[in-house]
C-alpha cells in the first residue's frame, strides 16, 4: 500500500487525526494504487476524479504550500521568498495559491503559526510526562531542542526568518515567546528557602535560551542543539531552584538524556 508523504515533518500525523481525513486517506491510497505508473510528486494529489472531498484537497494544498514556504525560506530568506518559488515547490497552481492565501506575508505567517503551534504542542505534551516540575522542564527543553535539530528548515523559519518579516511577524514572535511562559511560571512556587526568584526570571530564561538557539541556527549548527540540553537546563532552573539543585537537575538530565 502506498502512503501519502507530506514532506513537512511538523504536519505529519496532523492530516490523519480525524475520521474524515482517515477516510479520505483510504480513498486516496486506493486511487493511487489504480494510478500507478503515472508520474506525480509524492506529496501531490492525483489529477482528475479521485473522490476526495473538497475540504480534504484544500487542506492538503494548504499544508503543501506552507511546507514549501518553510523549505524555500531556508534557501532564500524571507526577503528573497517569492510566490513563484513557493507554488513551484508545492506543486500547486498560482490560482490555487490565491484561493488559499492573499499574499506572501499571509502565507509566511500562516506557516509560522503552524510550525510554532506544532512545536509548542509537542513541548507541552512532553512536559506532562515529567514527574516533578524540574523534570517537566527538562523534558520540554529536550523536545524543543530535538524538534529544532531534526528539522533545520523549521528552526530557521521560527528562530531567524520570523525576525525579518515585518512588524506583524515580530508581534507573532513575541506571542510565541509568551506561550512558553506557563511552563516556567510554576517554578516561582518551587523555590527552596533562601531562594527568591527574580521577577524577571521567566522572561530572562526564555530570552536566554532563545539567544543561544538563535546563534546556533544562524551559524548552521542546528543539529548540535540537543548537546546543550543539560547546560541550558541548569541556567533555566537556576533562578528558581538555586545553584545546588539546578546543578543536580542538570546532572540528572545528563544521565537520562543521551547526547
Amino acid at each position: 500500500m502506498r502512503t501519502i508523504n507530506i514532506p513537512f515533518s511538523s504536519c505529519q500525523g496532523l492530516a490523519l487525526q480525524n475520521l474524515e481525513t482517515r477516510v479520505a486517506a483510504i480513498a486516496l491510497t486506493r486511487y493511487c494504487a489504480r494510478m500507478d505508473g503515472r508520474q506525480r510528486a509524492p506529496h501531490q494529489l492525483p489529477p482528475g476524479r479521485h473522490g476526495l472531498s473538497h475540504a480534504y484537497v484544500a487542506q492538503n494544498q494548504r499544508e503543501r504550500i506552507m511546507s514549501a514556504v518553510v523549505q524555500v525560506a531556508r534557501e532564500t530568506g524571507y526577503s528573497g521568498l517569492t510566490i513563484r518559488e513557493v507554488i513551484t515547490a508545492a506543486g500547486v497552481s498560482r490560482r490555487t495559491f490565491y484561493e488559499l492565501f492573499s499574499d506572501k506575508d499571509s502565507v509566511f505567517l500562516a506557516a509560522y503559526d503552524h510550525v510554532v503551534g506544532r512545536l509548542a504542542h509537542d513541548v507541552r505534551e512532553s512536559t506532562t510526562r515529567g514527574g516533578d516540575w524540574p523534570q517537566q522542564i527538562s523534558l520540554g527543553l529536550a523536545t524543543f531542542l530535538g524538534r529544532l535539530a531534526s528539522d533545520p528548515a523549521v528552526a530557521h523559519l521560527c528562530v531567524v526568518e520570523i525576525l525579518a518579516a515585518g512588524p506583524a511577524a515580530l508581534s507573532r514572535r513575541s506571542a510565541a515567546m509568551d506561550a512558553f511562559r506557563p511552563f516556567l511560571e510554576p517554578g516561582c512556587r518551587e523555590a527552596p528557602d533562601g531562594v527568591e526568584p527574580p521577577p524577571l526570571a521567566v522572561e530572562l530564561a526564555i530570552g536566554g535560551v532563545y539567544e543561544v538557539v538563535y546563534t546556533y541556527v544562524l551559524e548552521d549548527r542546528t543539529s548540535e542543539l540537543p548537546r546543550l540540553h543539560a547546560d541550558l537546563l541548569q541556567i533555566a532552573l537556576l533562578p528558581f531552584l538555586g545553584l545546588r539543585r539546578a546543578a543536580a537537575e542538570a546532572a540528572r538530565a545528563r544521565r537520562r538524556v543521551p547526547v
Binding site: P198, P199, A205, V212, T215
Partner: protein, 245 residues
C-alpha cells in the same frame, strides 16, 4: 532640508561659500545622515524607511546621500555600526571603572539602560530594527551580542573563584536583550530604569548564586544609580543640537 520660511536646521552648514574644508563638510553630512537613520527608524520600521525619508530628515541632497552610501542598507549598517560601537564602548567604560565583579555588572547595566532610554530612536535602531534589516545586519547584531557576552565572560573568569560555563554569558546577555527588546516593542521604555535592580539581580545570579545576587540587588535599591552620566544624548550619538533655530 530648507523649511518653508528659509531657515535651516542647527546641524546644517550654511549654504554657499563658507571656507570650510571639504573633509569637514563631508564628515558633517555623513554624521547628519547617520543621525537621520536613527530618527527615521524611531518612527518607521526598517522596511518602511526610504532614502527620501533619510535625506529629508538629514537635510542633504539625494546626490550627497549617494556620494556617501550606496543605498538605504549601506546607510543603516553604517549608522548601526557607529551606534553599537558607542554603546559597547560606553558600557565597557562603565564596567571597567569598577573593581568588584558585582559593581562592574551593575555599572554596565546602568549605562546600557541609561543609553537606550535617553534616545528611543537610537534604541530602536540598535535593538529592534536590526532584526529586520537583512542578513548583514543580523550578523552584526550577532557580533555585538558576542562582544557583550565576552566582556562578561572574561571578567567572570578572572574575578570569580570557579570558572563559569561559557554559555552562561550568552544566555545572560540574551535574556537582558529580550527584556529590553520587549519593553521597546511595547513602548514601555520609561519603565526600564526601575528594572535596573532586578536586572542586576538576574545577571549576577548564575555567577554568584541566589543569596549574594539578592544582597547586591538590595544594595542597588538602597544606593540608587552609581553612575552620574552627564549629557547622555551626546554619548548616545554624534553631537547634534537639541532644537532647531
Amino acid at each position: 532640508m530648507r523649511s518653508p520660511g528659509g531657515t535651516q536646521s542647527w546641524a546644517q552648514l550654511p549654504p554657499g561659500r563658507h571656507g570650510l574644508p571639504r573633509s569637514f563638510v563631508a564628515q558633517n553630512q555623513r554624521d547628519r545622515i547617520l543621525a537621520a537613520v536613527a530618527d527615521v527608524t524611531s518612527a518607521a520600521s526598517y522596511a518602511e524607511m526610504t532614502v527620501a525619508d533619510i535625506i529629508a530628515c538629514a537635510g542633504v541632497s539625494r546626490r550627497t546621500f549617494y556620494e556617501h552610501f550606496q543605498n538605504k542598507e549601506g546607510a543603516y549598517l553604517a549608522a548601526y555600526d557607529e551606534a553599537v560601537g558607542r554603546l559597547l564602548e560606553s558600557v565597557r567604560w562603565a564596567y571597567s571603572s569598577h573593581e568588584r565583579f558585582a559593581d562592574r555588572v551593575r555599572a554596565g547595566v546602568e549605562m546600557f539602560v541609561a543609553m537606550v532610554t535617553a534616545d528611543p530612536g537610537f534604541a530602536r535602531m540598535c535593538l529592534v530594527e536590526v532584526m529586520g534589516a537583512g542578513p548583514d545586519a543580523l550578523r552584526r547584531r550577532d557580533a555585538a551580542m558576542a562582544q557583550f557576552a565576552a566582556m562578561l565572560d572574561e571578567n567572570a573568569r578572572s574575578l570569580l573563584d570557579a570558572p563559569p560555563s561559557s554559555i552562561i554569558a550568552e544566555t545572560v546577555v540574551g535574556g537582558l536583550y529580550e527584556v529590553i527588546y520587549s519593553r521597546l516593542v511595547r513602548g514601555e521604555l520609561r519603565q526600564l530604569p526601575e528594572l535596573v535592580p532586578e536586572l542586576v539581580h538576574a545577571l549576577l545570579l548564575p555567577y554568584l548564586g541566589p543569596e549574594r545576587a539578592i544582597e547586591e540587588r538590595d544594595r542597588v535599591e538602597r544606593e540608587g544609580p552609581m553612575l552620574a552620566i552627564p549629557q547622555l544624548g551626546q554619548l548616545a550619538r554624534a553631537p547634534r543640537a537639541p532644537e532647531q533655530q
